[in-house]
């Protein structure tokens, strides 16, 4: 099967391309950029996608998407969330280990990879559990888990409270050069907390999570990373102070990267409004100062990538008082438009913006995708940057309709998504 994508604006950050250019695909890979290779349309049907007025870029790479399998199929299924991924232009995604049971055994990882192998499904890169059952006491069989397909090891929202175990887990991971992905939140300082500890929480009577919950945890993680030499990736940084610590650590030569959830680039604790349960998130939405620092830090490259932190929650989990609401927001379908909005507001070149959701996260995952050079897998996202849409329950494919952006108008609609050259999503009717 051959495919040509014609008349689009090709934006391929990894290869420093941003120009009107056609793209040629055969057998699931990019075979040429610009002009068709010799013999491309001999003896074979060549499909054509007209990308006039559209941007053609690498398929998005999402560093955190919860697919809810195994264990939470009532919240979402692989089918529903893969449809959401394709509709969002996401062709590769990492999923955190907080399934039920957690991804702490090779069999579970193999099963997930097996279930996710359909051609219209985004490529799944599981993050294995760092400790058994995420309990923070026994380290997992990381080598076995890596063989089964895990690309990194983490704890999702669970902390390793015992610093001795944390040190050993990092040492063990470093033995095999496995990256460790950890969220910086001290479980004691965050205990019972549901919102940023600031004026809004004080006014609404919500239990606060202080910035110190992030910075004290970060201090421990960074120092142990320095001690062990492990490749540390900080997931979902949320505060200006935390970001400063990452910057200083990196200046000191410590191998630490970090990402941010896309909603953190746009919202603050003020968006809790009158107890909007969709604004109940982990980490919490913080102050405007923190948000502005995150926006600038991402532009400056201190934050390495943006992710959706996709967390579908059913209505029952959200139609309860704010503090009792299950945290998280659906995000696979909003990653592109919300990142575009950030880039436009920061006045960045489109290639720089798209790099944060393609080439940069691909580099962190250590995968082949995220770029459209000749020979690369044909994971492609084709979107109309000027097409507006309103975020509504009806037009979200994810089973989770939970997002604080419900009712917002956003620009950037995906027209086609290709995964290894397979047309996984056709939104050209939009």
């Amino acid at each position: 099967m051959k495919l040509q994508i014609m008349n689009g604006r090709l934006v391929d950050p990894a290869n420093k391309i941003d120009r009107q250019s056609d793209l040629f695909i055969a057998d699931g890979r990019i075979v040429a950029v610009g002009a068709a290779p010799a013999g491309f349309d001999d003896n074979a049907t060549v499909g054509t996608i007209d990308a006039t007025d559209c941007v053609v870029c690498p398929g998005l790479v999402d560093l955190s998407a919860r697919l809810r399998e195994p264990g939470y199929e009532y919240k979402a299924t692989l089918e529903s969330e893969m449809a959401a991924a394709a509709a969002g232009g996401v062709t590769s995604l990492a999923c955190p280990p907080d399934t039920d049971p957690p991804l702490d055994e090779p069999g579970l990882v193999e099963m997930l990879k097996h279930r996710a192998r359909l051609p219209e499904f985004a490529k799944v890169y599981p993050v294995g559990a760092l400790t058994a059952k995420l309990e923070g006491t026994h380290i997992t069989e990381m080598a076995e888990l890596a063989e089964a397909g895990c690309v990194a090891f983490g704890q999702a929202h669970a902390a390793v409270v015992d610093t001795q175990v944390l040190l050993r887990a990092m040492q063990y991971a470093a033995t095999f050069d496995f990256p460790v992905w950890l969220s910086p939140q001290d479980p004691f300082l965050a205990r019972n907390g549901v919102a940023h500890d600031g004026e809004v929480a004080a006014r609404l009577g919500l239990v606060g999570i202080p910035v110190a919950a992030e910075t004290t945890a970060l201090g421990t993680l960074i120092l142990l990373a320095q001690e062990t030499g492990v490749r540390l990736h900080i997931t979902r940084i949320s505060s200006a102070a935390g970001l400063d610590m990452v910057r200083i650590a990196r200046e000191q030569g410590i191998a630490v990267s970090c990402d941010v959830a896309v909603h953190q680039l746009h919202l603050t604790d003020n968006d809790i409004g009158y107890f909007n349960p969709h604004a109940r998130l982990i980490p919490p939405l913080r102050s405007q100062r923190d948000r502005d620092a995150l926006r600038a830090g991402l532009a400056a490259g201190i934050i390495n990538a943006v992710c959706s932190d996709h967390t579908p929650v059913d209505d029952d989990g959200k139609q309860v008082p704010f503090g009792e609401a299950e945290p998280g927001a659906t995000g696979l379908e909003l990653l592109l438009p919300l990142t575009l909005k950030w880039g436009a507001e920061m006045k960045l070149p489109l290639a720089d913006t798209l790099s944060r959701i393609t080439a940069d996260p691909a580099r962190l995952l250590g995968i082949d995708g995220g770029q459209l050079g000749v020979g690369a897998p044909a994971d492609v996202c084709i979107f109309d940057p000027r097409a507006d849409f309103r975020v509504s329950r009806e037009n979200l494919k994810s089973q989770g309709k939970n997002t604080p952006f419900l009712g917002h108008h956003l620009s950037g609609q995906v027209r086609y998504t290709l995964i290894d050259g397979f047309l996984a999503y056709d939104g050209s009717w939009n």
Binding site: D197, G198, E199, A201, A202, R203, L204, G205, L206, V207, G208, P210, I272, G273, Y274, F275, N276, P277, D316, Q319, V320, P321, F322, G323, E324, G407
Partner: protein
């Protein structure tokens, strides 16, 4: 949907009473004015008015309360409403019916008003938003205390009490003493006092019992009670829950009493005609000394009486009177 104040309708009239925050000054004053004639009613032979005749008021208490529930019940009955009391054990609802299921069921029984107390901040908002989303705007929600968020009728009855004794808000200094962090009463008092134009509001507490950024609510923070009480016209003590007396917040009730208990000696620093208030129930010897609680400056029992009148005023206004 979460960015418009859901307790006022299109015409700016009170549709629910969920918090004092954002209530216009004239609405607060109207509630206090409406309450005034109801206080006289207590001394009449016939205590009942027909303002809520035929209406069903559901007292929905997900958290234990005797005093607040009783005063709401008395207020509703004096307005001739049918009152249904439901004490809902939260541990059984944790496994069973959700809050909104309960609302739907009771609404199907033709409720006109819900008086709700809930341990979670924001629960009454959720109910009001749900009623609006399902086209049942004629049912009112009255917040009888939600988590740490608000206890608006307590805040209003406190304002009624202050106005009764001090007449004018515009030249007062008011001190709120005790566990501000966990107190919905304090939050409602602060919003009411700032809206009514009280020029100086002080909160007096150790740092462990103050919310982060409380000064942004328009108050002055005093960690020293003696300094905080100097020259005040009104002292409002707060109840300290027993589970907070020992642990990481406070070392002991004795030490709290020593630093923050309201004694005659400390009260002497306030103006000679200062009044002492407490939302009840009191912990004598913890936040307040008996000599003060039973002394001539205390207006704690009148607060209870005014509370019924204020709750009558709120309910009758919500019923469209």
């Amino acid at each position: 949907m979460n960015h418009t104040n859901p307790q006022l309708n299109k015409h700016g009239e009170l549709q629910h009473l969920i918090t004092i925050e954002g209530l216009p000054r004239d609405v607060i004053v109207r509630i206090l004015d409406t309450a005034a004639p109801f206080t006289a009613l207590a001394h009449e032979e016939e205590k009942k008015l027909p303002l809520l005749r035929g209406k069903s008021v559901f007292n929905l208490f997900f958290e234990n309360s005797t005093r607040t529930r009783t005063t709401f019940e008395i207020a509703a009955k004096r307005l001739s409403a049918d009152v249904i009391n439901l004490n809902i054990n939260t541990s059984s609802t944790a496994k069973g019916e959700t809050l909104l299921d309960t609302v739907d069921n009771l609404a199907a029984m033709q409720a006109d008003m819900f008086v709700v107390r809930h341990a979670a901040s924001g629960a009454p908002y959720l109910m009001a938003q749900h009623l609006a989303a399902t086209g049942r705007n004629h049912i009112s929600v009255v917040n009888a205390g939600d988590g740490r968020h608000a206890h608006p009728t307590q805040g209003l009855l406190d304002m009624y009490t202050i106005r009764h004794y001090k007449k004018d808000f515009s030249n007062l200094t008011v001190a709120i003493v005790g566990d501000i962090l966990h107190s919905r009463v304090a939050r409602s008092q602060i919003h009411a006092l700032t809206t009514l134009g009280v020029p100086e509001i002080r909160v007096i507490a150790p740092k462990t019992l103050l919310p982060t950024g409380v000064e942004r609510m328009g108050v002055r923070v005093c960690n020293d009670m003696r300094e905080g009480l100097k020259g005040v016209d009104v002292v409002m003590a707060l109840r300290l829950q027993s589970e907070r007396m020992l642990g990481a917040l406070l070392p002991s009730p004795q030490e709290f009493f020593k630093s923050y208990g309201l004694t005659a000696e400390k009260l002497a620093l306030a103006k000679p005609d200062a009044i002492v208030m407490h939302p009840g129930p009191m912990n004598r010897g913890v936040e307040i000394d008996s000599a003060v609680a039973d002394g001539g400056q205390a207006v704690i029992l009148p607060q209870v009486t005014f509370g019924i009148a204020v709750r009558m005023a709120v309910m009758s206004m919500l019923a469209g009177n």
